[in-house]
Protein backbone atom coordinates (compact mmCIF):
# COMPACT_ATOMS: atom_id res chain seq x y z
CA UNK A 1 0.00 0.00 0.00
CA UNK A 2 1.49 3.33 -1.15
CA UNK A 3 5.05 4.05 -0.06
CA UNK A 4 4.79 2.78 3.50
CA UNK A 5 6.01 -0.78 3.93
CA UNK A 6 4.16 -1.66 7.10
CA UNK A 7 1.52 -0.63 9.60
CA UNK A 8 1.80 -1.16 13.31
CA UNK A 9 -1.49 -2.12 14.89
CA UNK A 10 -1.79 -2.43 18.66
CA UNK A 11 -4.42 -4.49 20.44
CA UNK A 12 -5.07 -4.33 24.17
CA UNK A 13 -5.12 -8.07 24.67
CA UNK A 14 -5.09 -10.99 22.31
CA UNK A 15 -6.75 -10.42 18.96
CA UNK A 16 -8.72 -12.60 16.61
CA UNK A 17 -8.12 -12.71 12.86
CA UNK A 18 -11.46 -10.97 12.54
CA UNK A 19 -10.10 -8.00 14.56
CA UNK A 20 -7.07 -7.69 12.29
CA UNK A 21 -9.23 -7.84 9.18
CA UNK A 22 -11.54 -5.14 10.56
CA UNK A 23 -8.60 -2.97 11.59
CA UNK A 24 -7.13 -3.19 8.08
CA UNK A 25 -10.46 -2.14 6.63
CA UNK A 26 -10.53 0.81 9.04
CA UNK A 27 -7.07 1.86 7.86
CA UNK A 28 -8.22 1.67 4.24
CA UNK A 29 -11.29 3.78 5.09
CA UNK A 30 -9.14 6.42 6.77
CA UNK A 31 -6.00 6.56 4.67
CA UNK A 32 -7.17 5.39 1.25
CA UNK A 33 -10.63 6.98 1.06
CA UNK A 34 -12.27 3.59 1.47
CA UNK A 35 -10.70 2.28 -1.77
CA UNK A 36 -13.03 -0.56 -2.81
CA UNK A 37 -10.33 -2.68 -4.46
CA UNK A 38 -8.16 -2.57 -1.33
CA UNK A 39 -11.14 -3.43 0.87
CA UNK A 40 -12.10 -6.35 -1.39
CA UNK A 41 -8.52 -7.57 -1.18
CA UNK A 42 -8.66 -7.63 2.61
CA UNK A 43 -12.12 -9.23 2.65
CA UNK A 44 -11.07 -11.97 0.22
CA UNK A 45 -7.71 -12.68 1.83
CA UNK A 46 -7.11 -15.72 4.00
CA UNK A 47 -4.84 -15.90 7.02
CA UNK A 48 -2.19 -18.54 7.66
CA UNK A 49 -0.72 -19.65 10.99
CA UNK A 50 2.92 -20.35 11.79
CA UNK A 51 2.11 -24.03 11.27
CA UNK A 52 1.23 -23.31 7.63
CA UNK A 53 -2.46 -23.82 8.20
CA UNK A 54 -5.23 -21.62 6.86
CA UNK A 55 -7.15 -20.32 9.87
CA UNK A 56 -10.59 -18.78 10.11
CA UNK A 57 -11.67 -15.43 11.54
CA UNK A 58 -12.09 -16.78 15.08
CA UNK A 59 -8.41 -17.80 15.33
CA UNK A 60 -6.78 -16.07 18.31
CA UNK A 61 -3.38 -14.41 18.19
CA UNK A 62 -1.56 -14.15 21.47
CA UNK A 63 1.62 -12.22 22.12
CA UNK A 64 4.52 -13.12 19.79
CA UNK A 65 2.36 -15.31 17.60
CA UNK A 66 2.87 -14.69 13.90
CA UNK A 67 0.38 -14.85 11.08
CA UNK A 68 0.59 -14.27 7.35
CA UNK A 69 -1.96 -12.95 4.89
CA UNK A 70 -2.81 -14.96 1.80
CA UNK A 71 -4.22 -12.71 -0.94
CA UNK A 72 -6.82 -14.11 -3.39
CA UNK A 73 -5.25 -16.91 -5.44
CA UNK A 74 -5.14 -17.72 -9.15
CA UNK A 75 -2.81 -20.60 -9.88
CA UNK A 76 -3.13 -23.73 -11.95
Amino acid sequence: MACQNFYRINFDKSAKVKNIRNKLIEIIEEKYSGNKAYKDLVKKSAFCSERDEIVNDSYVLNKDKMISIIPPIGGG
Binding site: I70, P72, G74
Partner: protein
Protein backbone atom coordinates in the same frame (compact mmCIF):
# COMPACT_ATOMS: atom_id res chain seq x y z
CA UNK B 1 2.73 -42.92 -4.25
CA UNK B 2 2.80 -39.20 -4.47
CA UNK B 3 5.14 -36.57 -5.81
CA UNK B 4 4.67 -32.80 -5.64
CA UNK B 5 7.01 -29.94 -6.42
CA UNK B 6 7.15 -26.29 -7.23
CA UNK B 7 9.59 -25.87 -10.08
CA UNK B 8 11.41 -22.58 -10.37
CA UNK B 9 13.89 -22.89 -13.25
CA UNK B 10 16.08 -20.14 -11.77
CA UNK B 11 16.62 -22.22 -8.64
CA UNK B 12 16.21 -25.80 -9.80
CA UNK B 13 17.76 -25.53 -13.29
CA UNK B 14 14.89 -27.64 -14.60
CA UNK B 15 11.38 -27.14 -15.94
CA UNK B 16 8.23 -29.13 -15.25
CA UNK B 17 8.39 -32.28 -17.31
CA UNK B 18 5.99 -34.78 -18.82
CA UNK B 19 8.81 -37.30 -19.11
CA UNK B 20 9.44 -37.15 -15.37
CA UNK B 21 5.70 -37.45 -14.76
CA UNK B 22 5.41 -40.51 -17.02
CA UNK B 23 8.35 -42.18 -15.33
CA UNK B 24 6.93 -41.55 -11.85
CA UNK B 25 3.41 -42.87 -12.45
CA UNK B 26 4.44 -45.91 -14.51
CA UNK B 27 2.85 -48.97 -12.95
CA UNK B 28 2.11 -52.37 -14.51
CA UNK B 29 -0.90 -52.75 -12.20
CA UNK B 30 -2.42 -49.55 -13.55
CA UNK B 31 -4.63 -49.81 -16.62
CA UNK B 32 -5.10 -46.07 -17.00
CA UNK B 33 -2.85 -43.05 -17.04
CA UNK B 34 -4.13 -39.50 -17.31
CA UNK B 35 -1.92 -36.50 -18.00
CA UNK B 36 -3.35 -33.05 -17.43
CA UNK B 37 -1.22 -30.17 -18.68
CA UNK B 38 -2.19 -26.56 -18.03
CA UNK B 39 -0.60 -24.24 -20.60
CA UNK B 40 -0.26 -20.47 -20.96
CA UNK B 41 -2.93 -19.48 -23.46
CA UNK B 42 -2.84 -16.60 -25.89
CA UNK B 43 -5.97 -14.76 -24.82
CA UNK B 44 -7.42 -13.89 -21.42
CA UNK B 45 -10.16 -11.30 -20.88
CA UNK B 46 -9.66 -10.06 -24.46
CA UNK B 47 -5.99 -9.35 -23.85
CA UNK B 48 -3.10 -10.83 -25.84
CA UNK B 49 -1.03 -12.75 -23.34
CA UNK B 50 2.68 -13.31 -24.00
CA UNK B 51 3.55 -14.99 -20.71
CA UNK B 52 2.75 -15.38 -17.03
CA UNK B 53 4.85 -15.06 -13.91
CA UNK B 54 3.78 -17.34 -11.09
CA UNK B 55 4.50 -16.76 -7.45
CA UNK B 56 3.73 -19.26 -4.71
CA UNK B 57 3.85 -19.84 -0.98
CA UNK B 58 5.84 -23.02 -1.59
CA UNK B 59 5.50 -24.75 1.78
CA UNK B 60 1.76 -24.26 1.92
CA UNK B 61 1.33 -25.22 -1.73
CA UNK B 62 3.07 -28.57 -1.22
CA UNK B 63 1.10 -29.16 1.97
CA UNK B 64 -2.13 -28.35 0.13
CA UNK B 65 -1.27 -30.64 -2.81
CA UNK B 66 -0.63 -33.49 -0.38
CA UNK B 67 -3.89 -32.82 1.47
CA UNK B 68 -5.90 -32.73 -1.76
CA UNK B 69 -4.27 -35.96 -2.93
CA UNK B 70 -5.12 -37.69 0.36
CA UNK B 71 -8.70 -36.45 0.17
CA UNK B 72 -9.00 -37.64 -3.43
CA UNK B 73 -7.74 -41.12 -2.62
CA UNK B 74 -10.29 -41.33 0.20
CA UNK B 75 -13.14 -39.76 -1.77
CA UNK B 76 -12.85 -42.19 -4.67
CA UNK B 77 -11.89 -45.14 -2.43
CA UNK B 78 -8.69 -45.84 -4.32
CA UNK B 79 -6.46 -48.57 -3.02
CA UNK B 80 -3.68 -47.89 -5.45
CA UNK B 81 -2.96 -44.72 -7.35
CA UNK B 82 0.14 -42.82 -8.31
CA UNK B 83 -0.01 -39.06 -8.52
CA UNK B 84 2.56 -36.59 -9.81
CA UNK B 85 1.97 -32.83 -9.49
CA UNK B 86 4.39 -30.12 -10.51
CA UNK B 87 3.61 -26.41 -10.75
CA UNK B 88 5.82 -23.79 -12.33
CA UNK B 89 7.11 -20.76 -10.45
CA UNK B 90 8.60 -17.70 -12.14
CA UNK B 91 8.10 -16.71 -15.76
CA UNK B 92 6.36 -19.12 -18.16
CA UNK B 93 6.08 -18.03 -21.81
CA UNK B 94 3.04 -18.44 -24.06
CA UNK B 95 2.25 -22.06 -24.90
CA UNK B 96 4.45 -23.55 -22.20
CA UNK B 97 3.09 -25.61 -19.29
CA UNK B 98 2.37 -24.09 -15.89
CA UNK B 99 1.14 -27.30 -14.25
CA UNK B 100 1.31 -31.03 -14.87
CA UNK B 101 -0.91 -33.50 -13.04
CA UNK B 102 -0.28 -37.14 -13.89
CA UNK B 103 -2.37 -39.94 -12.43
CA UNK B 104 -2.26 -43.69 -12.83
CA UNK B 105 -5.01 -45.93 -11.49
CA UNK B 106 -6.30 -49.42 -12.05
CA UNK B 107 -9.27 -48.24 -14.16
CA UNK B 108 -9.91 -45.23 -16.41
CA UNK B 109 -13.01 -43.94 -14.62
CA UNK B 110 -11.19 -43.44 -11.35
CA UNK B 111 -8.15 -41.96 -13.11
CA UNK B 112 -10.37 -39.36 -14.82
CA UNK B 113 -12.19 -38.61 -11.56
CA UNK B 114 -9.05 -38.21 -9.50
CA UNK B 115 -7.29 -36.05 -12.11
CA UNK B 116 -10.29 -33.72 -12.39
CA UNK B 117 -10.66 -33.53 -8.63
CA UNK B 118 -7.00 -32.60 -8.17
CA UNK B 119 -6.95 -29.72 -10.65
CA UNK B 120 -10.28 -28.26 -9.50
CA UNK B 121 -9.20 -28.31 -5.84
CA UNK B 122 -5.77 -26.89 -6.65
CA UNK B 123 -7.41 -23.97 -8.44
CA UNK B 124 -9.51 -23.24 -5.35
CA UNK B 125 -7.02 -23.92 -2.57
CA UNK B 126 -3.35 -23.65 -3.53
CA UNK B 127 -1.72 -20.29 -2.66
CA UNK B 128 -0.36 -19.48 -6.11
CA UNK B 129 -0.61 -16.10 -7.83
CA UNK B 130 -0.10 -14.99 -11.37
CA UNK B 131 0.94 -11.88 -13.21
CA UNK B 132 0.10 -11.74 -16.91
CA UNK B 133 2.25 -10.03 -19.51
CA UNK B 134 0.62 -8.64 -22.64
CA UNK B 135 1.61 -7.91 -26.20
CA UNK B 136 1.28 -4.15 -25.55
CA UNK B 137 4.14 -4.42 -23.01
CA UNK B 138 1.77 -3.99 -20.06
CA UNK B 139 1.35 -6.49 -17.25
CA UNK B 140 -0.91 -7.05 -14.29
CA UNK B 141 -1.39 -9.30 -11.28
CA UNK B 142 -4.73 -11.07 -11.66
CA UNK B 143 -7.35 -10.40 -9.02
CA UNK B 144 -7.80 -14.07 -8.17
CA UNK B 145 -10.40 -15.60 -5.90
CA UNK B 146 -10.61 -16.07 -2.15
CA UNK B 147 -8.89 -19.25 -1.04
CA UNK B 148 -11.32 -22.00 -0.12
CA UNK B 149 -10.84 -23.12 3.45
Amino acid sequence: MFHAAIIDPKKTKKIISLLRAEKFIKDFDAGASIFFVGNIRKNNNNKNVTGVTYDAFDRLVIKTFKKIYTEGIKKFKLKKAKVFIEHAKGYVPLGKPSIIIAVSCKHRSEAYQLSRYLIEQIKMRAPIWKKEYYKNQKSEWLKGTAIKI
